[in-house]
């Protein structure tokens, strides 16, 4: 069985973001990078599947500059067999359609039986890439998986819907599964596996070799919503405070 897991390296969401001079993305200095949280569940599921199915081969892929090799190394340490870096210094300028096109172009001739992706990325959060790759390859996409099972060339997935509801769906391979948080418990790599990972294959392909498409989305600007760190302080009579708070919740949040 041939498995692909696609991961993205994202800044830690706690990082202190600074809008870059271009005004459309953030500066990369002072950022701490990590594997997109959703993708960690994808890696774990792929590794679990690999150990269940004999003779499975697991490739992990990531698009981006040299720093994404750190993310790939961790995926290798978690149990992937080989890594592919689609080298792209300007990956952040690509839209979901372009990223999906590059992955689909890479996957096209490789006959992957299963492709795992995260449900979305933490930085962009558009949740498109997985479904787009599946559509481009003409295979079913099973999204938002919180449970996964594989047997006899078919996958069964429980999708997480709203309000605690789940939907069980089934498809035959080849297929793509996008993983929601909580699908499994991503493993912490053991030291021998970290050591082994250093000797595993890391393939580099310039993204231009695979990507011929233009972007379909234009980013106009990136900005801070409001300044954190200085809370608006409300004082006074409790009844007034209650009214003020309800007003603020209605205005600033979508919960009421």
């Amino acid at each position: 069985m041939n498995i692909l897991v696609c991961i993205k390296q994202v800044p830690d969401m706690e990082s202190r973001f600074k809008v870059a001079a271009s005004g459309t993305w953030f500066e990369e200095s002072d950022l701490a990078w990590r594997i997109n949280e959703y993708d960690e569940f994808a890696i774990e599921q792929a590794v679990q599947l690999k150990t269940e199915v004999s003779g499975a081969d697991l490739t992990v892929l990531s698009i981006g500059p040299a720093r994404v090799k750190e993310a790939l190394k961790k995926a290798l340490a978690m149990g992937c067999d080989r890594a592919v870096n689609l080298v792209d210094e300007a990956a952040h300028e690509k839209d979901s359609f372009q990223i999906a096109s590059a992955i689909a172009a890479f996957a096209k001739e490789k006959n992957f039986d299963l492709i795992f992706t995260g449900m979305q990325s933490q930085d962009r959060g558009s949740g498109q890439v997985g479904v787009l790759v599946a559509e481009m390859l003409g295979i079913p996409a099973l999204t938002t998986a919180v449970e996964f099972a594989y047997a006899d060339n078919s996958v069964t997935v429980r999708r997480e819907l709203e309000g605690g509801l789940r939907a069980a769906i089934k498809a035959s391979t080849p297929a793509l599964v996008s993983c929601q948080l909580g699908l499994n418990t991503p493993r912490y790599p053991t030291l021998p596996n970290i050591m082994k990972a250093k000797r595993k294959e890391m393939l580099e392909i310039p993204v231009a070799d695979l990507l011929k498409e233009e972007a379909r989305l234009t980013t106009l600007s990136l900005a801070y919503p409001e300044k954190k760190g200085s809370a608006q302080i409300l004082e006074g009579d409790v009844a007034d405070l209650v009214d003020q708070v309800i007003g603020i919740l209605k205005e600033k949040t979508a919960v009421l």
């Binding site: 950022l31 912490y188 053991t190 030291l191 021998p192």
Partner: protein
């Protein structure tokens, strides 16, 4: 009348041949029994513990012959010490008899057990024997009638007490029978007062009866002594030989320093310990040297808050597995809940009369769990590990914000050099994660800077380039992450060109000063307390006294790990504090629960350690709980609230107290 006695009276010199044959046989059994154990010690990994012999021997002298460690605990410790001294005197006496009767007299006709020396010899041995009997009876009463909680009593204990008491009693009876026949009514008899007492029952008998009773007792007494020798390797009497040996083989420090694993070792198939053979030979030897005195268990903060860890049981389990089933999985036997419960506070090791090293064994097994299995005490810990990998701190805070606290001081005009940006200063202040990111603990960092500034010391920090020192990760067994973080810190420190490091966090201090040495950092590292105490002494730092009623909590990594008990108290005194000491203070201090990486873990089992400690502090009646550790501060902030003591007790760091009193 001649002031001496006839040796081999009644039994005659002819017993020498059978006696020595039997003694040789008994010693052979003893040696054979111990040699059999040697094979098991050899299951462990090699470790050099025979270097610095003079230091090792002087330790044996102090801790065995002077019973220094044993006597630290009143009651049972005192009884053991006195019994030991009596027993040693009797052994010396017996040796003197042997030297005279079997060596000097037959060969050279030389006798020294005569005259005034004999009188002295006689009375000292009598009293020694009496003291030994009283102490043994006292210990028997403690064990069998008072029954201290959780004292492990097995058949061995009855055998040991019974055998020793029987030897001493038969010795006195023997003396009594001899005296009844030879000394009764002489002045000489007063020099054997206990013997005289035991002679009374025999007084009315005929000499023939006295002689036959004596002869029977002699052989019985002798048989008991032979039995005693034979029993040593097979019972808890082992400790007679193995505990002194273990003191000789003890860890000579630095206190609490862990072995640094070679992670690049291509040959290594496994890391940490899951089997006996993964441990050092000394770890197995430790198990054999244990006296089951339970002092470690009595002090263990985990045991005292209803967690499954007893340091004594853990050591005993290692012994059982080593000798009965050495291939078994140690971690499964001991269980992970036990291993994760340890706060590495060292209370067990500090008090152990046999110099057993409990903590390193726990760490070795944790290393195996983490490095080989990827297992942690909970998901929150895994998350903290990942946060540390990505952000350089277990809290997952943005590294770019690490030195934000310093900006507030800089805005006030206080200079803090950014060493990572090429500025210079006399000392590098290694801030640590909690004082960097936690608003409460930032006050400690600010206080330290203000104190240094008042003393005219220029201070620099690594700013956002500083990483977690790696201590909690290392103590939780994650040697890999520790070495990664340490390497990054060392690189930054070395690049800064700084010559001296000071930290106000005992965990950072202990790690930088002891553990980083193995990774190439060789700069002097001090804790803020001793650093400031020196500035105070030299007059550079001036404090004005303002009264404050407080109690002081000795943090484990300052006290037991670094013997820094006086500096904080001197500083408190200089600040005008009136100190209400807790019952458990200094070496006996009770852990706040944050050590051993437990600060990152949820305390799922038993009573909350931090609340228990907060209650102890409140019992002193002092309204302020002073400590010298950001981890302790975090624990007490929660513990005081959790124990519902927030109305009466407030935690403060020593540095905060001092900073309010800058003169």
């Amino acid at each position: 009348m001649e002031l001496t006695r006839e040796i081999y009276w009644n039994v005659g010199h002819s017993v020498m041949i059978p006696m020595y044959l039997l003694v040789t046989a008994a010693f052979s059994v003893l040696v054979w029994g111990l040699r059999k154990r040697l094979a098991t010690y050899r299951l462990g990994q090699a470790l050099e513990r025979c270097d610095r012999r003079n230091e090792r021997l002087s330790g044996v002298l102090r801790d065995i012959f002077l019973q220094a460690r044993v006597l630290r605990v009143k009651g049972a410790g005192t009884a053991h010490g006195l019994f030991f001294f009596g027993f040693v005197l009797l052994t010396i006496g017996t040796t003197l008899v042997f030297v005279q009767a079997d060596v000097l007299d037959p060969l050279f006709g030389l006798r020294f057990l005569t005259g005034n020396f004999y009188l002295f010899f006689s009375i000292v041995l009598d009293i020694a024997g009496l003291v030994a009997i009283i102490m043994l009876l006292g210990l028997a009463v403690r064990r069998y009638l008072l029954r201290p909680k959780d004292l492990p009593t097995v058949g061995d204990n009855a055998l040991m007490l019974g055998l020793l008491l029987a030897i001493l009693f038969t010795g006195f009876l023997l003396e009594g029978a001899r005296m009844a026949a030879t000394e009764l009514g002489t002045d000489l008899s007063w020099w054997s007062p206990v013997g005289l007492f035991f002679a009374q029952p025999f007084a009315g008998l005929s000499e023939a009866a006295q002689r036959s009773i004596h002869s029977g007792l002699w052989w019985f007494h002798f048989a008991l002594v032979l039995g005693f020798f034979c029993a040593i390797p097979f019972t808890r009497l082992r400790h007679l030989l193995l505990t002194p040996a273990n003191i000789f083989f003890r860890d000579l420090g630095p206190t609490g320093k862990l072995t640094t694993l070679d992670l690049e070792d291509e040959e290594a198939e496994s890391f940490g310990a899951s089997k006996v053979s993964d441990l050092f030979w000394k770890d197995i030897f430790d198990a054999d040297a244990c006296t089951y005195c339970k002092r470690c268990q009595d002090r263990c903060p985990a045991w005292n808050t209803d967690k499954p860890l007893s340091p004594m049981k853990l050591i005993n389990q290692i012994g059982e597995v080593s000798f009965s089933n050495p291939e078994a999985n140690l971690i499964e036997t001991i269980t992970t809940d036990v291993l994760w419960s340890c706060t590495t506070c060292r209370a067990c090791q500090e008090i152990c009369p046999a110099a057993i090293e409990h903590v390193p064994k726990i760490i070795e097994m944790r290393r195996n769990l983490v490095l080989m299995e990827g297992e942690f005490p909970g998901e929150e810990v895994t998350k903290a590990m990942e946060n540390s990998e990505v952000n350089g701190n277990p809290l997952g805070m943005a590294p770019a914000t690490r030195a934000d606290w310093a900006e507030e001081l800089r805005a006030e005009g206080i200079k803090i050099a950014d060493l990572a940006a090429g500025e210079t200063a006399e000392i590098l202040y290694f801030v640590g994660c909690y004082a960097s990111f936690d608003k409460r603990n930032q006050k400690i960092a600010k206080s330290f800077i203000k104190l240094c500034s008042a003393a005219g010391v220029t201070v620099g920090i690594l700013g956002k380039e500083e990483k977690c020192c790696g201590e909690p990760m290392r103590k939780l067994g994650n040697e890999y992450l520790y070495q990664m973080l340490a390497a990054e810190n060392i690189e930054q420190i070395q690049a800064s060109g700084v010559k001296r490091i000071v930290s106000a966090c005992p965990h950072c201090f202990n790690t930088l000063s002891k553990d980083y040495v193995d990774l190439g950092l060789e700069l002097p590292v001090e804790h803020a307390n001793s650093f400031l105490a020196k500035l105070l002494q030299s007059g550079q730092l001036k404090l004005k006294q303002a009264p404050i009623d407080c109690t002081y909590h000795d943090s484990c990594y300052l006290g037991r790990h670094n013997d820094l008990y006086e500096a904080p108290r001197q500083l408190l005194k200089a600040a005008g504090a009136y100190l209400h000491e807790m019952e458990k203070s200094r070496q006996e201090s009770f852990c706040c629960s944050a050590g051993g990486g437990r600060i990152l873990a949820e305390e799922k089992i038993g009573e909350r350690m931090n609340q228990k400690r907060a209650k102890m502090a409140a019992e002193t009646g002092a309204p302020i709980l002073v400590s010298s550790c950001p981890f302790c501060m975090s624990m007490f902030e929660d513990g005081i609230k959790g124990a519902d003591l927030d109305e009466q007790l407030k935690p403060l760091d020593l540095l905060e107290v001092l900073a309010e009193r800058i003169g």
